[in-house]
């Protein structure tokens, strides 16, 4: 995407995702979880996909928010409707979504084959 350094964004997504998963799975204290988990769930999950799919700078943040919120709701809904509630598993699933988006975005970055 024009104007955003692809490598930098990929690194941010991967880094943020890893830190989030570690803080949640390891049961870190709340003051540490809030600044990692909230942006992750609201923006980071869909960021890679938003960059890959839109190609429009004006849309990326909005679509990243839309995709992140939607993904969180889908994962949580599926767990709630099937009675298989597990927030840790939910965060891991969201991390997979985020990392897949980052991977696809990285693979499609200009200059890569």
């Amino acid at each position: 995407m024009k104007g955003i350094r692809d490598d930098g964004v990929t690194a941010v997504i991967v880094g943020w995702t890893v830190v989030t998963v570690i803080t949640v799975v390891a049961g870190a204290p709340g003051w540490l979880r809030v600044p990692t988990v909230v942006p992750f769930v609201l923006v980071v999950v869909g960021l890679g996909w938003a960059i890959t799919l839109t190609g429009e700078r004006a849309l990326v943040l909005a679509v990243a928010i839309g995709l992140s919120v939607s993904s969180t709701m889908f994962v949580a809904e599926a767990m709630a409707l099937t009675g298989l509630w597990s927030p840790r598993f939910g965060i891991v699933l969201l991390a997979v979504v985020a990392l897949a988006g980052a991977g696809v975005q990285r693979a499609r970055a200009p200059g890569r084959r």
Binding site: V34, V37, G55, R57, T82, G83
Partner: protein
């Protein structure tokens, strides 16, 4: 046609008709066999098995059949349509089986996962892994079983369909008898295993016998997967409409009448549907035959119509007569209550269905699947809608009439349509006439100039023989290009064309004489002769071999474009020189072309912008050193010729059409114009893309053309604008049609001039500070201070001042005016500073980042203040919603059958997401999350709104003023911890996507950035639509309404977006939300179309308000009135300027429909305003800035300041005006928490009102009785004698315990907004506490919990 050919044709027709008859008869027989033996099967099952077993088995088989229908993906008709003509039948069948079987397995897995939710009685199906696996496999196999009917029909072997269906029916009867000891599984296995057993022989026959034979004897066409996918997708949508119509109708009958009526309808429709199936079978047979022989389709259609009529009409007539008898076989009750009449009407509707069914089969054959979707869509809306509206008054008979009238009207319309399709025929005729007229006119012109051309050719080549055939190569209004054999002749017929031809000849002669170009000169035509005859100018050029580059394949074209750029660069380089840009260059590059452009009448409304562009270019160019040289001036790909070299490599053989050439043109112009022509976009879009991201342009030039610009010191924007101006001037000068073509001008001139004049780094319009070249560092620093430092400092100061002022706030001193009553001068100063800084930024620099910062600070002021000042979470409903999350975290699931608030469990997206987030941050309560939700939601809405409004305007001032107004006008407070806030954000993102990806060109997305690819945007769209549909009830309706409004006004292509919106909304409502929908259907129907009933409740409440709350209420309404008036002014001002924004107007008005159709009480008024306010704000912003360059900028600044001053107090009053009752103390929360923790499950909690922290813990375990919500009589009884009435209530022994909860916020709420007199709660509390019948079980400063005193 020869007699022999005629005879052969007739023979083939007869064979085809015979095949059609045989196939149709076989399929009808298949229907009869399946239906008849199916009837016996269920009779036998009823006798051999328990009723409970039969019930469960039929439900399981019904579920499997439903999943199968969903999993065929439109391939049932797709196979019949495409198999007859394809050469890859085997592959098609295998792929269809595979895809559908996988879809079936997926559907079965989803069904199993959600089984507790939608089919609780079928828990046995996932009790063991074996059972679940068998169900999945059986569903997959059943899909193939269904599809093989279509395979055999498509391969013209339909005769086997009744055979194996008969075999299957007999086998399942035998299995049913044999498996009686296995209960439910016995029935299910007897139904599915014979079907699985049939698959092997049937498909062995297909793959081993039919397909090899077919491959030997026939030549077929290649199948285009895209055609099949498109056909199947649309047919699938049509089938979903049909499924919806048939499945929803029993639900409507059930909710409006009774279970008995629903059963009668179900039986009646099942009988009549057998007649429908006859037409469908004949239609399938016709589809197969006509697809095989499309040229004989009309004959076959008549034959099919005759056969369907013979089958259906007599059967229908008999059915009409014996309808009561048929129903009596099911029981005497069925023929009562209008059942017989209903059956007669539905059976009669099978007669017009013949016309509809066969017309649709014909439409499928022709590939007109849109008609299929339209007819099924109309049927769904008409049948369900009319039944819906009339069933209450006329009973079951109304449904029959709905079917009959809908089918009859549709049949009549389709018959008329088939006879004469006026629009299509008319359009085709008009196009044909126009084409013929053009050809004739060009031929006439060629004929008129032939003698002159011959003369010119003889001048060029005296040895040429006269009479050589001339061929027209191309023409426009004033030029003819003629193939003269070994040369090309150009004939100019007016002065402009003559000038262009003369320039072309001059350029070519110059090139030919320029030795610096060396061998490259061979790439350009030689001028052989130039001749004036009368008023015509004729040139003869040498002809160059080769193919136009724009006709090459994609890869070759890409390579050729780079080579063209290299050739042009050679010319540029060889002739280059440097000049300092002075008056002469400015005149030639800017002033003259711009003056010509400004003379076009259609451009008068952007004259100011064009003038500004001129000034801007001049400022950028003057004094600069420019690299100039020979330019082509119009190097688009069609002017370049390519051929294969001797080494089989692509090479450029020539570049022609040098009419716009200049010996001393700016060299960057050629590069930009070549790049623009390869971008696949309109010129205007391409130029705007450069303006939006100038540095990307240089990168793209390097990537696409492999070149860098010769004038590297010139900004890309400047070079691109010069190229644009040069091209527009050339177009307008050469072709007078372009000057009259308003659409071309709008897209390529107006769009660029407007965008250029309103860029963040703007053109000088008299009031803009821009760091122009040559500005000294000191001046630049001063400019930076003016444009950035002052607003940044002011914003920071505002934030700090607001924070300091908030420290001094005493919330307890708040009166009935809410938060505004405790704000102080510091707040006013802080806000004034922020507003002034915003207005300053809007007019001085317009940096989006800076303007966005103001909005973020504004939102922060509004939302951080209550979060920090109030003790606990604000607003009773937010507390209630945290209770749903608490339930979810406690139980680990949702329960759609829960007694209290089941709606939240049926649309659980928001609550589940919040639950996940709550636990992920290590909390067990969502209260903290809810406290900060308004801030987060508002910021997310700002991001989404920025993306959405950017599609409407490139004017940064309009964009951010709209956002500012949105924040100040959005007083309805739907941003608290609730599903609608999240739904609203997703809705804004969805609209932005829809407007960008599905626009028809009517809504010109002004953002010049590259568009999101259509497939990607559609995937995103589907994800967002599903998220919206699963999390809220009104937002999906609004999503449908908005998309429909944009479709009706032809702003976007709605097919996909609307389909997705409807399918996700209806799909969710009738699966997960089914229970709630069925339970509340009658309430919805009662309130449908009665806007007064839904809004009067809210409006009537104003009668109870105290004086302060009246003013608060008035403030909100004043904002609505102000915004509507401003928006109207904006619409009128835009309309006066010829820029009426149909998309914004449609989206502004669409929420009005909500008020009419939804039954959400008075709440809907707020929701309608919420959905309208972004578009009202945009129209209002356009009222302030109606023109791209505002010549009245001082007045605009004043207008923004006045508007802000008017809106802010109204907003603070309307949004925070109820905060005395909406803010709760820690003591209140402590009392309620104690009560919820200590009350036994099933207890009743009597409350003063619903205002307060409530239902946030174990919410489903209590019964709530708010006194304020009781009837007036009951309330009066409580007030008259609280100890007696409440004593009775609290003495209820049918529940474990009864508590009376009275709090501070309940009392304030009742005092402020009623419906009891002021002081009522206090009076109740005093009376109760004075009475010895009661005892206080918990008490603190702000709340008391009371029970009946225990007897000692």
């Amino acid at each position: 046609m020869s007699p022999a050919a005629s005879a052969t044709g007739q023979r083939e027709s007869a064979d085809d008709a015979s095949n059609l008859n045989r196939s149709a008869n076989a399929l009808v027989l298949g229907v009869v066999v399946t239906t008849g033996l199916g009837f016996f099967y269920w009779v036998a099952a009823a006798r051999l098995y328990d009723a409970d077993v039969v019930g469960k088995a039929s439900a399981l088989i019904g579920a499997m059949t439903f999943l199968t229908t969903a999993a065929t993906l439109g391939l049932t008709n797709g196979l019949v349509r495409f198999l007859p003509a394809t050469s890859a039948a085997g592959r098609l069948i295998r792929n269809a089986y595979m895809v559908s079987a996988l879809a079936g397995a997926f559907a079965a897995i989803v069904f199993l996962l959600g089984q507790p939710l939608w089919a609780d009685e079928l828990e046995f199906v996932r009790a063991t892994p074996l059972a679940a696996t068998f169900f999945i496999l059986a569903t997959s196999a059943w899909v193939i079983f269904v599809l093989q009917d279509s395979v055999l029909t498509g391969l013209h072997h339909a005769r086997w369909v009744p055979v194996y269906n008969g075999g299957f029916a007999v086998a399942k009867l035998v299995a049913l008898v044999a498996l009686t000891t296995f209960g439910v599984w016995g029935v299910f296995v007897s139904w599915t295993v014979p079907a699985i057993a049939v698959l092997a022989p049937v498909n062995w026959y297909v793959f081993r016998r039919v397909l090899p034979k077919r491959a030997r004897h026939r030549s077929h066409r290649r199948l285009r997967l895209r055609d099949l996918a498109e056909f199947a997708a649309r047919d699938y949508v049509a089938s979903l409409f049909w499924m919806g119509t048939t499945q929803l109708m029993p639900l409507i009958v059930l909710s409006r009448l009774s279970a008995e009526a629903s059963a009668t309808y179900y039986v009646s429709f099942s009988i009549a549907y057998a007649l429908y199936l006859m037409t469908i079978s004949v239609g399938s047979a016709y589809l197969a035959e006509a697809s095989r022989h499309p040229t004989r389709a009309p004959v076959l259609l008549r034959r099919a119509a005759r056969q369907a009529t013979i089958l259906v009409v007599p059967a229908s007539l008999v059915g009409v007569v014996v309808a009561p008898l048929a129903l009596s076989l099911y029981g005497a009750d069925y023929s009562q209550h209008g059942g017989a009449t209903l059956l007669r009407l539905v059976i009669a509707s099978a007669i017009p269905q013949v016309v509809i069914g066969l017309t649709l089969a014909d439409a499928r054959q022709r590939g007109d699947t849109r008609l299929v979707v339209a007819v099924y869509g109309i049927t769904a809306v008409a049948v369900l809608g009319t039944s819906f509206a009339t069933i209450g008054r006329f009973g079951l008979v109304a449904v029959g009439w709905s079917w009959l009238l809908t089918q009859t009207i549709l049949a009549v319309v389709l018959l008329r349509r088939r006879r004469v399709d006026v629009s299509r025929e008319g359009l085709a005729l008009a196009v044909d006439i126009r084409r013929q007229v053009r050809v004739l006119r060009s031929r006439r012109r060629l004929h008129a100039v032939t003698a002159d051309v011959e003369t010119a050719l003889r001048v060029a080549d005296p040895s040429r023989r006269p009479g050589t055939r001339l061929r027209l190569l191309a023409s426009d209004n004033s030029t003819l290009v003629i193939d003269g054999g070994d040369c090309v002749v150009r004939v100019a017929e007016d002065a402009a064309a003559t000038r262009a031809l003369a320039n072309n000849a001059s350029a070519l002669r110059g090139i030919a004489a320029d030795h610096r170009l060396g061998k490259r000169r061979g790439l350009f035509p030689l001028v052989l002769a130039e001749h004036d005859v009368g008023d015509r100018h004729i040139t003869v050029e040498s002809q160059i071999d080769g193919t136009s580059v724009d006709r090459l394949g994609t890869r070759a074209r890409r390579e050729a474009v780079r080579r063209v750029a290299a050739v042009l660069a050679t010319v540029n380089e060889a002739t280059r020189s440097k000049v300092e840009c002075g008056d002469e260059e400015i005149e030639r590059l800017v002033t003259q072309p711009l003056a010509r452009v400004r003379t076009v009448p259609w451009l008068s409304h952007v004259d100011a912008e064009l003038a500004a562009v001129g000034e801007w270019l001049e400022a950028r160019l003057r004094g600069r050193e420019l690299v100039v040289g020979r330019t082509h001036g119009d190097p688009w790909v069609a002017n370049a010729l390519a051929r294969e070299s001797e080494r089989a490599r692509l090479e450029i053989s020539g570049i022609v059409d040098w009419e716009d050439s200049s010996p001393d043109g700016l060299l960057d112009i050629d590069l930009f114009l070549l790049w623009f022509s390869t971008s696949g976009r309109e010129l205007g879009d391409a130029v705007n893309a450069v303006l939006a991201d100038p540095h990307a342009a240089d990168r793209s030039l390097r990537e696409v053309l492999g070149r860098t610009r010769p004038n590297q010191r010139l900004e890309p924007c400047t070079a691109a604008m010069l190229a644009w101006l040069h091209h527009v001037d050339a177009q307008l000068s050469r072709n007078s049609r372009a000057g009259r073509h308003r659409v071309w001008l709008e897209r390529n001139v107006v769009a660029v001039a407007t965008a250029a004049a309103t860029r963040p780094d703007p053109l000088p319009g008299g009031h803009v500070v821009a760091a122009l070249p040559g500005t000294s560092p000191r001046q630049s620093a001063r400019a930076w201070v003016t444009t950035h430092a002052i607003p940044l400092a002011a914003t920071a100061a505002a934030a700090i001042a607001w924070s300091l002022a908030s420290i001094a706030v005493d919330v307890e001193a708040m009166d009935d005016y809410g938060l505004i009553s405790v704000l102080n001068v510091g707040h006013a100063v802080a806000f004034a500073l922020l507003a002034a800084s915003f207005v300053w930024s809007l007019h001085r620099h317009r940096s989006e980042l800076l303007l966005g910062l103001h909005i973020v600070v504004l939102v922060g002021m509004w939302q951080i203040t209550p979060a920090l000042l109030y003790d606990t979470l604000r607003y009773a409903w937010a507390w209630k919603h945290t209770g749903i999350v608490e339930y979810l975290l406690r139980e680990g699931r949702v329960d759609t059958t829960v007694a209290i608030s089941p709606i939240y469990h049926a649309w659980p997206g928001f609550f589940a997401g919040s639950g996940l987030l709550t636990e992920a941050i290590g909390s067990r309560s969502a209260v903290t999350l809810a406290t900060w939700t308004p801030l987060v939601l508002d910021l997310m809405a700002i991001a989404a709104l920025r993306a959405l409004l950017r599609t409407f305007t490139a004017d940064v001032r309009v964009l951010w003023l709209a956002m500012w107004l949105y924040v100040l006008a959005n007083w309805v407070g739907q941003d608290y911890f609730a599903p609608q806030g999240t739904g609203f954000v997703l809705y804004l993102v969805l609209l932005a996507l829809v407007l960008r990806s599905e626009d028809t060109g009517r809504h010109q997305v002004v953002d010049p950035a590259p568009r999101t690819p259509r497939l990607a945007s559609r995937i995103l769209l589907t994800v967002l639509a599903l998220a919206i549909a699963s999390s809220h009830q009104i937002t999906p309706l609004m999503m449908i309404l908005s998309i429909a409004a944009l479709g009706i006004t032809r702003v976007i292509h709605v097919r996909f977006a609307l389909s997705v919106a409807i399918v996700t909304t209806v799909g969710w409502a009738f699966t997960i939300g089914r229970g709630y929908v069925v339970d509340t259907a009658s309430e919805v129907l009662d309130e449908f179309g009665d806007p007064l009933s839904s809004t009067s409740a809210t409006l009537d409440r104003s009668a109870f308000l105290n004086d302060a709350q009246r003013i608060v209420s008035f403030a909100g309404r004043l904002i609505v009135v102000m915004m509507v008036i401003l928006a109207l002014v904006g619409v009128v001002r835009q309309w006066q300027r010829g820029r009426f924004d149909v998309a914004n107007t449609a989206l502004m008005l669409a929420p009005g429909v909500l008020i009419v159709v939804t039954p959400f009480g008075g709440e809907v008024l707020f929701r309608a305003f919420l959905f309208a306010v972004p578009f009202l704000a945009l129209a209002a912003a356009k009222a302030v800035f109606p023109d791209a360059i505002s010549v009245e900028h001082r007045r605009s600044g004043l207008a923004v300041a006045v508007l802000t001053a008017l809106l802010v107090p109204c907003f603070v009053l309307a949004y925070f005006g109820k905060d005395r009752q909406y803010s709760f103390t820690n003591d209140e929360v402590a009392a309620v928490t104690w009560l919820y923790e200590h009350a036994p499950a099933g207890s009743t909690i009597v409350e003063g009102s619903t205002n307060g922290p409530r239902q946030f813990l174990r919410y489903e375990q209590f019964i709530y009785v708010p006194i304020a919500e009781e009837s007036e009589t009951t309330r009066d009884a409580v007030l008259e004698n609280p100890t007696f009435t409440l004593g009775d209530w609290l003495a209820d022994e049918s529940v474990p315990a009864v508590y009376l909860l009275l709090t501070r916020s309940q009392a304030i709420d009742v005092d402020s907004v009623g419906p009891m007199p002021a002081g009522a709660i206090q009076q109740i509390e005093d009376d109760i506490l004075d009475s010895p019948r009661f005892e206080v079980v918990f008490e603190n400063r702000d709340a008391v919990v009371i029970q009946l005193a225990r007897r000692t």
